[in-house]
């Protein structure tokens, strides 16, 4: 079954590039939702059937594939932004940077002292590449919504790394992480609306001075 898991991880890494290259919020949000669903399917493929596993899979798919994208779409609609207009670094440049980071992730993963059974798998390079993509989106985009998307991708990267340990990961920990994420996105959605109401823009580069 590892080959099917590898295909899913390739899909996850491709979605990283979609997010890096697309300027439309709706496409980015759908791409991240798809990434969440793909990741939700992964533990089911990797391990034997158990109720614990069903809980993790179901929780992942509902939270990352449905609830969070729905919240984000709502925030986008209220703030009336369709696309990221001027990122700090252009789309082609971030795409190339993303490609370089992915290649570096493969090089780095090959050098890590992993367990022999994890050696040939795509999990470690995919998780590092996804993490770095998350950082890239967080740092190069201006709009608060794009930064939330970057944060989500970052979390997905951490989740892929955690998959190697899932048999040891109790369901409460996983549920706690998902709940944190959900609450985080919820709060960010509210904050985005407040920012856009206050400043009639959600460009975070304007939020440079503090006032009392």
């Amino acid at each position: 079954m590892t080959s099917f898991a590898d295909q899913l991880l390739v899909l996850v890494m491709l979605i990283n590039f979609v997010v890096l290259g697309s300027s439309r919020m709706a496409i980015s949000i759908r791409a991240v939702a798809l990434q969440g669903i793909a990741l939700g399917l992964l533990p089911g493929i990797m391990h034997k059937f158990s109720w614990h596993l069903i809980m993790i899979t179901g929780g992942m798919i509902v939270a990352k594939g449905i609830v969070i994208p729905w919240l984000l779409t709502g925030a986008v609609r209220k703030a009336e932004i369709r696309r990221e207009v001027e990122p700090f670094i252009g789309y082609v440049a971030t795409l190339l940077l993303g490609a370089v980071f992915t290649a570096l992730a493969f090089v780095f993963a090959a050098k890590l002292p992993l367990d022999p059974e994890h050696q040939g798998l795509l999990f470690v390079p995919a998780s590092i590449a996804t993490l770095l993509t998350g950082f890239l989106v967080l740092t190069t985009r201006r709009k608060a919504i794009s930064q939330v998307i970057g944060y989500l991708i970052l979390e997905n990267g951490i989740f892929i790394f955690g998959l190697l340990l899932t048999s040891a990961m109790p369901v409460m920990v996983e549920a706690g992480v998902l709940l944190d994420l959900l609450v985080g996105i919820f709060i960010m959605g509210i904050i985005i609306n407040h920012i856009s109401r206050e400043f009639s823009s959600i460009d975070t580069s304007r939020l440079t001075t503090l006032k009392e």
Partner: protein, 302 residues
């Protein structure tokens, strides 16, 4: 021997038919009857019968451009294996020659365009140079990945090596390669969404603007060369996308012809359902294609 004869006959006669199929598909989507399948042949024959007009300010480069372009494409057509049969000419490393024959053809098209001194043609040449620079890495990453998978540097063994088992074993990287190469196939042949072969709107033309000053037989060579290029790149694409093998020589030729026609129909469908991209978006898509095939290479080399 018969295989080589069929190879030569197909490369000489089939290319304009692909253009006819694309045209017919687009017409069917638009609800028209469309020109007959053989219309591109009639067009080329009509152009070959006409006289030529050469501008006084042009030099020999302008006259040599179409001839060299056609010749380079013909040699590339000899290097590519068709339908699981080895190509007439093959040697170790011919994949580099294959890639750079197209570059040579493109160089002379651009030089001929610049030779007229027209500002429009210069603009087209500049665009062609930019976009082909961006399309070239995709082709090379794909070639590296393919030669690594088959442990060979010659196109014949490289492309005939694939079978359905490769798809089962490394489906993800094959899918990435197919995606990247399809984008290159459309970009190199100036099809929608990169360039509209029917448009004559000067702001957006790429390929058509470079050949505006050619007339008569020279323009016929250019049309035929473009069709031949489409044929060769389609054949390259089919080897990777549809690696069907039966072992029976004639049946393989039949499968090859049918799959070429299907691919031409698919291109026609893509042209009918997509709009042209804005010029600023084209480099973005080409870089994305390069990343797809670089990623495939990474997965295969790993």
């Amino acid at each position: 021997m018969t295989d080589i004869l069929i190879h030569l006959l197909l490369t000489l006669l089939m290319p304009p038919l692909l253009l006819g199929v694309i045209g017919k598909t687009k017409a069917a989507f638009a609800g028209r009857t469309g020109a007959p399948f053989l219309q591109p042949y009639y067009d080329i024959l009509r152009l070959l019968r006409k006289g030529s007009v050469f501008s006084d300010v042009t030099t020999w480069i302008f006259k040599a451009g179409p001839v060299i372009t056609l010749a380079a494409t013909c040699i590339a057509a000899l290097l590519i294996p068709l339908g699981n049969h080895p190509s007439p000419v093959s040697f170790t490393g011919d994949m580099i020659l294959f890639a750079y024959l197209f570059a040579l053809a493109r160089f002379f098209t651009m030089a001929a365009a610049l030779d007229t001194g027209s500002s429009f043609e210069g603009m087209g040449a500049a665009r062609e140079a930019t976009f082909s620079c961006l399309a070239e890495p995709t082709l090379f990453f794909a070639l590296i990945a393919l030669s690594r998978m088959s442990n060979s540097l010659s196109l014949s063994t490289m492309l005939n090596h694939y079978s359905v088992t490769d798809w089962l074993r490394s489906g993800a990287s094959m899918l990435l390669l197919v995606g990247g190469l399809f984008i290159v196939l459309l970009a190199e042949n100036c099809r929608i969404p990169f360039d509209d072969p029917n448009t004559h709107l000067e702001l957006t033309m790429i390929h058509e603007v470079m050949v505006l000053d050619h007339s008569g037989p020279a323009f016929g060579y250019i049309l035929y060369g473009a069709a031949l290029k489409l044929f060769v790149l389609q054949a390259f694409f089919i080897h990777i996308a549809l690696p069907l093998k039966t072992g029976n020589s004639l049946l393989d030729w039949g499968i090859f012809i049918v799959s070429m026609l299907i691919l031409a129909t698919i291109i026609g469908v893509v042209e009918s359902v997509m709009a042209r991209l804005r010029l600023v978006r084209i480099p973005q898509l080409l870089v994305a294609a390069s990343i797809l095939s670089a990623f495939a290479m990474l997965l295969i080399l790993r």
